[in-house]
């Protein structure tokens, strides 16, 4: 019998998605029970870490899945890890079962066939997802095709300390003017930090008369002309920055710390609820508020993806599905806890679930959906990569 089983295993075709029957969710949850899911997610935000710990408790209770949060300093580390595993022939049970991912990292992994799927749109809770109203099927213009499932919406907002900067600033040019009048009171995280490159993209989108050119990949023909306004803007802005642009905060939270220290008065954030949560955690003064630019700001979705060589794919899908559940989404949107925007469609929810969302208080420094205004599209990832490289050459080695 044993030999037969081995023989059968050897003869079996190379398993693809076929080893898990996605059409029958019960078999997935049954297989998930007892599995341990190693979720590699950026560990720099303590509020997010707390949320992930809560998700772990819930999926343990509900499905018997153990969730371990592997705290990354850089999501690219996880990409590198999966690549090295593939190189070493570890195709069955890699170290990573799930990654918090988007943008260039997703594009790279998808292109290199390092992801499991498609799975996202077969998950039961996909039925609640707002496919039409939110950018949950493209990631920086790259189609997700079910290889990652969304769990939070993000949009750029600016955090101002109203003790020193009372009025919102309506455009990037207004920010530059204010910074020139108040030198040393503004900075942004140093690219290639995610939030730092987001600032550059946001500046470019706001400066261009027609940002639609950014939805196509950057080419040698278009790049110089399109980005010229950005470099002119930065050449003016940089000498007026904190430390005259000779040093930058490493990350978004480090930039928030500068507000708390009274070193700067204005900061960029990719999470409309972050300021409120930071006030609740004593990380920001109670005088901070947020604003968006008059023409709107960039928005995108945060996703999770499952590496092709995860040994706990069923468990990972259970977690991914739970993340899209109304219960998890309400908690994530609670500004006192995380303040992340939901990916769900309110009209698809039951009355009770919708009431739970309605009952959420916005929080003192969070804008309402109406105030958040128009969401601008992310540029194609190729722009971000080239702009970050150029920034590093122009300003990253300036000393």
């Amino acid at each position: 019998m044993k030999h037969l089983a081995v023989l059968a295993a050897l003869l079996a075709p190379v398993p693809t998605v076929a080893d898990i029957d996605l059409s029958n969710w019960e078999t997935v949850t049954a297989e998930a029970e007892g599995q341990t899911v190693f979720w590699n997610a950026w560990g720099g935000s303590t509020t997010t870490n707390d949320f992930i710990a809560w998700v772990g408790e819930r999926v343990k209770e509900e499905y018997g899945v153990t969730l371990e949060h592997v705290k990354l300093t850089d999501t690219a580390d996880a990409v590198t890890r999966v690549l090295s595993e593939k190189q070493a022939g570890e195709d069955e049970d890699g170290a990573i079962d799930m990654i918090w991912i988007n943008g260039a990292n997703f594009a790279a992994m998808k292109a290199a066939d390092l992801l499991f799927g498609p799975y996202a749109e077969q998950l039961p809770n996909w039925a609640f997802v707002d496919v039409d109203g939110k950018t949950v099927q493209t990631d920086f213009t790259v189609p997700t095709e079910g290889f990652e499932s969304p769990w939070a919406m993000a949009q750029v907002v600016f955090i101002q300390d109203t003790a020193d900067l009372a009025e919102p600033l309506g455009s990037m040019q207004a920010i530059a003017d204010w910074s020139a009048a108040n030198p040393g009171r503004f900075t942004y995280p140093q690219p290639p930090d995610f939030l730092g490159t987001t600032f550059l993209k946001q500046a470019l989108v706001d400066l261009l008369d027609d940002p639609s050119v950014l939805s196509a990949p950057a080419t040698d023909d278009t790049y110089d002309a399109v980005t010229a306004p950005l470099w002119a803007f930065l050449d003016d802005l940089t000498p007026t920055l904190w430390r005259e642009g000779r040093a930058y905060p490493a990350t978004g939270p480090a930039q928030l710390q500068l507000i708390a220290d009274g070193e700067v008065d204005l900061a960029i954030s990719f999470s409309p609820g972050e300021a409120t949560a930071a006030i609740a955690n004593n990380q920001l003064p109670s005088t901070v508020r947020t604003f968006v630019l008059d023409q709107g700001t960039i928005g995108n979705a945060s996703f999770v993806a499952i590496p092709y060589n995860s040994g706990s794919k069923a468990g990972a899908m259970v977690v991914a599905n739970f993340l899209m559940s109304p219960e998890a989404q309400v908690r994530a949107q609670n500004p006192e806890i995380l303040g992340y925007g939901t990916v769900l469609d309110m009209d698809a929810l039951s009355a009770a679930d919708r009431a739970a969302f309605d009952a959420l208080k916005l929080g003192v420094a969070t804008l309402s959906p109406a105030e958040l205004g128009a969401v601008q599209a992310e540029p194609h990832p190729s722009w971000m990569t080239r702009i970050a490289d150029d920034w590093m050459q122009r300003y990253g080695v300036s000393e």
């Binding site: 560990g43 592997v70 593939k86 070493a88 022939g89 005259e244 220290d261 990380q283 990253g396 080695v397």
Partner: protein, 564 residues
């Protein structure tokens, strides 16, 4: 296998444990540096990676920062330690400094750097204490102090951590040099305290502490965590840039990283050669100075200056710890308040449970690794003593490889190796990887005191009928209790502080205090950093405290074994 046959094999086993991974890792550095990385679809050889490296605009400054930081931090901390020991050893201020050693050493580099940054930044604690009262600042001035472009703050951060390390090593070496009698005689001959010590004791002490000094130099040149917190970042020092290239999603950047790692290796080798040359020149000048017979005119000033420098460096670390403690209990704390608006247990309740899990993992790994390293080291040294199986002069350099090769250069190669031999991620491979880094430190800490042991003791014991094992267990090891415990504590601290090996070889599944703390440091939540930094400090504090306390307790009635 009986012990007689086992002992001679130990040196070879030790070398294999250390060098196998390093060799594999280096191979994994050389190939990509020459353009060969099949995983990225690139096959070499080509000089493109090196060309790209030299085309990077930040390279000259990054290289200069690496070299200047390393040389400055090493020479300044060595000078402080030597002059303090020369001027004050055996006195009350010296004993006070000695008692401070354990807490000073056990503060992790990253935590010390964080403490320093918060002390001296324009919005830091020192500024808050006098604002707005003395300065009139309602808002912090826009001054580039932390992350200054010359890397001086980063150098200071390294010095405050290297001074206690070198002092500990010096104390261990002093026990083997019979310093007190030399001092007594030189003073009887009319030499000043410092001059007499430098002329009679220093040559013997330096011969013993030379390996750790080289390690400090190599470490200071390639440090990553301190540089990230305190160093400039436009551009950063070379080591930081290598890590950035390594973590680029574009695999082709790994080639440039590998080329950078080769350059970093070359820089370290070059700086060590430069240091060796300086040693020879100073030794020549020194002999001339000794022969001249000058008794020393500036001894008092030099001694007092050194004590102030040593005291300030100690106070900076301790104040940094105090600031960490305050942050760990802080409510909102804005500028220019000298203290937080309120104190709360919330931070500890939020982060405390996580630290306990991480502490268990950290302690388990550290104890197993440091003990294994100690056993291998003693086995090697004893084999050398009994059978004359010493490493040749060239082979001794192999010991240094894991400390001289930037971690970022050979760890990914090591990771691939472990995967391909089927040693999957997890605790045991992490322990093996830690051993690579812990073994040299333990060996370097213990080798010289072990060799400097007066072999006549062994002869006497043998004459009294003791077997070679009996001499080892009943005479040599007890007499060397202090350096052995020191080596063990160093091994534990090194293991506790390992970041990249734990992350890469553990596949992220092994969460120690350090991996958790560095992940948090990237986010900049000072309260979380404070809680983890204090726990990390505690994990390293206990062994160091024992290394100093136990010999004093065990040998409370053996004056000659207490050393100082």
């Amino acid at each position: 296998m009986n012990r007689q046959r086992f002992l001679p094999v130990l040196p070879i086993l030790t070398l294999v444990v250390m060098l196998g991974p390093v060799a594999a890792g280096l191979w994994g550095t050389f190939l990509p540096a020459l353009g060969h990385l099949p995983a990225a679809g690139l096959t070499g050889p080509s000089f493109d990676p090196l060309r790209d490296l030299f085309a990077w605009g930040g390279l000259p400054r990054a290289v200069m920062l690496s070299v200047s930081t390393g040389l400055l931090a090493t020479s300044v901390s060595l000078l402080i330690v030597m002059f303090v020991t020369a001027g004050w050893s055996g006195t009350r201020p010296f004993r006070a400094l000695e008692r401070l050693l354990s807490p000073l050493l056990s503060v992790p580099h990253a935590a010390a750097a964080f403490g320093l940054a918060f002390l001296i930044a324009p919005s830091g604690w020192l500024s808050r204490l006098v604002s707005p009262g003395l300065t009139g600042w309602d808002r912090p001035p826009d001054l580039l102090i932390v992350q200054d472009s010359l890397g001086l703050t980063m150098t200071a951060g390294l010095i405050v951590k290297e001074v206690p390390f070198l002092l500990l090593i010096t104390l261990a070496a002093l026990g083997q040099t019979d310093a007190q009698r030399s001092i007594t005689i030189s003073q009887a001959l009319g030499y000043g305290r410092v001059t007499g010590w430098l002329k009679t004791v220093f040559p013997r002490v330096y011969a013993q502490i030379r390996p750790p000094v080289y390690v400090v130099l190599a470490y200071s040149m390639s440090v990553v965590d301190v540089a990230v917190i305190l160093g400039p970042n436009t551009p950063p020092p070379l080591s930081v840039q290598i890590v950035r290239w390594m973590s680029d999603p574009d695999l082709a950047m790994r080639l440039e990283a590998a080329a950078g790692a080769l350059l970093q290796l070359g820089l370290v080798v070059g700086a060590l050669a430069f240091w060796r040359l300086a040693e020879i020149i100073i030794a020549r000048l020194g002999r001339h100075w000794i022969a001249k017979g000058s008794r020393g005119r500036f001894d008092t000033i030099v001694a007092q200056g050194a004590l102030v420098a040593g005291g300030v460096s100690a106070i900076i670390v301790l104040l940094g710890l105090l600031v960490l403690a305050i942050w760990s209990f802080a409510g909102f704390w804005g500028f220019p308040d000298a203290l937080p608006d309120g104190f709360t247990l919330r931070n500890w309740m939020r982060f405390g449970p996580g630290t306990m899990t991480a502490l268990g993992e950290t302690a388990l790994i550290a104890v197993v690794v440091a003990s294994a390293a100690l056993i291998l080291t003693i086995g090697c040294l004893e084999a050398e003593y009994r059978y004359g199986l010493s490493f040749s002069q060239r082979a001794v350099w192999l010991l240094y490889l894991p400390l001289l090769v930037p971690q970022t250069a050979f760890l990914p190669g090591l990771q691939t190796l472990m995967l391909s031999i089927g040693a999957d991620v997890g605790r045991a491979p992490v322990m093996l990887a830690h051993l690579v880094f812990v073994l040299p430190y333990v060996f370097l800490s213990l080798a010289d005191p072990f060799r400097a042991w007066d072999a006549r003791m062994g002869t006497i014991a043998a004459a009294l009928g003791a077997s070679p094992d009996g001499v080892l267990w009943r005479v040599r090891l007890p007499m060397l209790l202090r350096p052995i415990l020191t080596a063990l504590a160093v091994g534990l601290a090194v293991s506790v502080g390992q970041y990249l090996p734990t992350l890469l070889i553990g596949g992220g599944r092994v969460a120690t205090l350090t991996t958790e703390a560095v992940a948090l440091a990237s986010g900049g939540d000072r309260r979380a950093i404070a809680v983890y930094g204090l726990m990390q400090t505690g994990a390293a504090l206990v062994p160091f405290a024992l290394a100093l306390l136990l010999p004093a307790l065990v040998w409370r009635n053996r004056k000659g074994l207490r050393h100082g």
